[in-house]
Subunit: 330 residues, 2 copies
Amino acid sequence: MATISDVVKKSGISKSTVSRVINNHPSVSEEKRRKVLQAMEELAYTPNPTARRMRGTLKSSVGLIIPNVTNPFFSYLIHHIEQRLSEHSIRLIIMQSSESREKELEFLDLLKQKQVDGIILAAVENEMEAILPYLEYGPVMLCNEYVQTGEIPIVRLDQERAAYIGVRHLIEKGYRRIAYCTGGLFAEDGKDKDRNNGLRRAMEEEGLPIRPEWVFVDQHTIADGREVMRRLWQMDDRPDAIFTGSDEVAAGMTLSARELSIRIPEDIAVLGFDDQPLAELTYPQLTTIHQPIDEMGRLAADVMIRLFTEDKPQNMNYELPISIVERQST
Amino acid sequence: MATISDVVKKSGISKSTVSRVINNHPSVSEEKRRKVLQAMEELAYTPNPTARRMRGTLKSSVGLIIPNVTNPFFSYLIHHIEQRLSEHSIRLIIMQSSESREKELEFLDLLKQKQVDGIILAAVENEMEAILPYLEYGPVMLCNEYVQTGEIPIVRLDQERAAYIGVRHLIEKGYRRIAYCTGGLFAEDGKDKDRNNGLRRAMEEEGLPIRPEWVFVDQHTIADGREVMRRLWQMDDRPDAIFTGSDEVAAGMTLSARELSIRIPEDIAVLGFDDQPLAELTYPQLTTIHQPIDEMGRLAADVMIRLFTEDKPQNMNYELPISIVERQST
DNA sequence: TTGTACGCGTTATCAA
DNA sequence: TTGATAACGCGTACAA
């Protein structure tokens, strides 16, 4: 690989002037600029990114912290973020935290070491107090996670409204004995609290109770969904609909329903979440909440790129709309 | 961040000796080593990876070129490669080539610029002549792709045998009018040629013909599968089984089969490929070819790590076994 | 407008 | 065993 010194030799022009040409500085005479450009051309010269990085100029990589790539929600998120970043010649580094606090901090440390120039957090396990100090070393933002601090920009979907819309849909379809299954906790201030609040609001509006025995927390996988449906069917007093936290859990329910000869939606309606491709592969196909992952991914990339140049972003809170896709399971 | 100079000041020991301690050089007295280590500890010193990289030592990132992250096959591959690499503190950089030759070369260029220290190609669009020159700049290997050159290490699954096993399964189940649907081409030397050969071998052994009107090429998505089933049903002379190139295509077939009231496997058997999670979500669940993506990913990572230290790998060709998972669609 | 000299944080060479 | 010094490739005060 040719270096700047090679260009100097070939063109007979000083290093600083060559550097100016490379970086489009205004004060260079046309003649010298031409000569330098020609030398660069002939040598197929490209500035060494590592050297630039050491000088402190150059932003070329963004780290994305997610729980797991194999979750389609996140693989789509990766896709859209990567597409947009690559338009700006910025590389995306995948970091699977596997929901471990230690790994999360380990990855944030890469920002400190200037291994990445910014970090998009699409998973947050640590308290904000542990994360805020990293802001000193470079831009950090939240994507699909919501912890209001006033310091960290957030790009997210309106989960409260999403849950509200979902429950409204069930109610309008005539279901009133509604069970709830979430990937988070059913606490005032835990994970997925926004969805919980949306559920509560819709239920309260109709004067419907949320029955504790019909609430399932920390459910994520197809296997989890299978199990929940089985437990539901052992109850004497059963719900007539269940609102799940993900299409995968809902898909698991369709499986055990088939095994147990339970009819969906006649015996129980199942409402998914995410609108993943598999939502139309199950039998019956899932009614589900559509999340605009594509928009969210692109927006997150845009915000990060802006963060590279701006000091304080003008807008700290980006919220994207959510809609329901009606299929056959409700 | 503390630098080596800070350690020098704090410990009162020269830069070279400090560097020796950092890199575990033998010739350092116990006393000085202790002092240096203590200073490092107190300053929470970590060597700057960028500086190390510029010096030419340090391997810390591997690029993975894939067609698309959203394809579950590749998201699983990413998962397993990333897991193994992260055990060695090596970062994985995702590169979606979107099947573009230009993008592929653009990514390979990152090796030349020392932006990544090695490249795993899980997609190959360019001719090998275009790729071989990059070997000069660092390790390049193939994963799940097969182009024998003698220069580039290959980790892959035995696709010829996989296709052979699949067709054997259909034949043993009594199907004899077998259609074929591939993501590649049906040519002697094109993409997926190994699978084609496996198919041919199994068919010829039984004296069964491969009918051109029952061969579908370049089929990838759920939508593609839907369409193929529709076309099949417009034929006067129909097959009684179809061997597809991916579970997604097979899943698409189950969808249009339902729409057209075609029974699987009674009217037509459908054999998938990949054993993706969705294979047990379709109705009926798919019989499919299981590919050990986990082993392949880990092995690819191991081979790449070895490539960092060895000049010539002892083994250039790693081949992993494949098996069939029988469910309800055949 | 142009060029010289220095620094970014390491590691390697060489002489002591 | 130790330490002074050069070098990796680039950008930028500063002086001219």
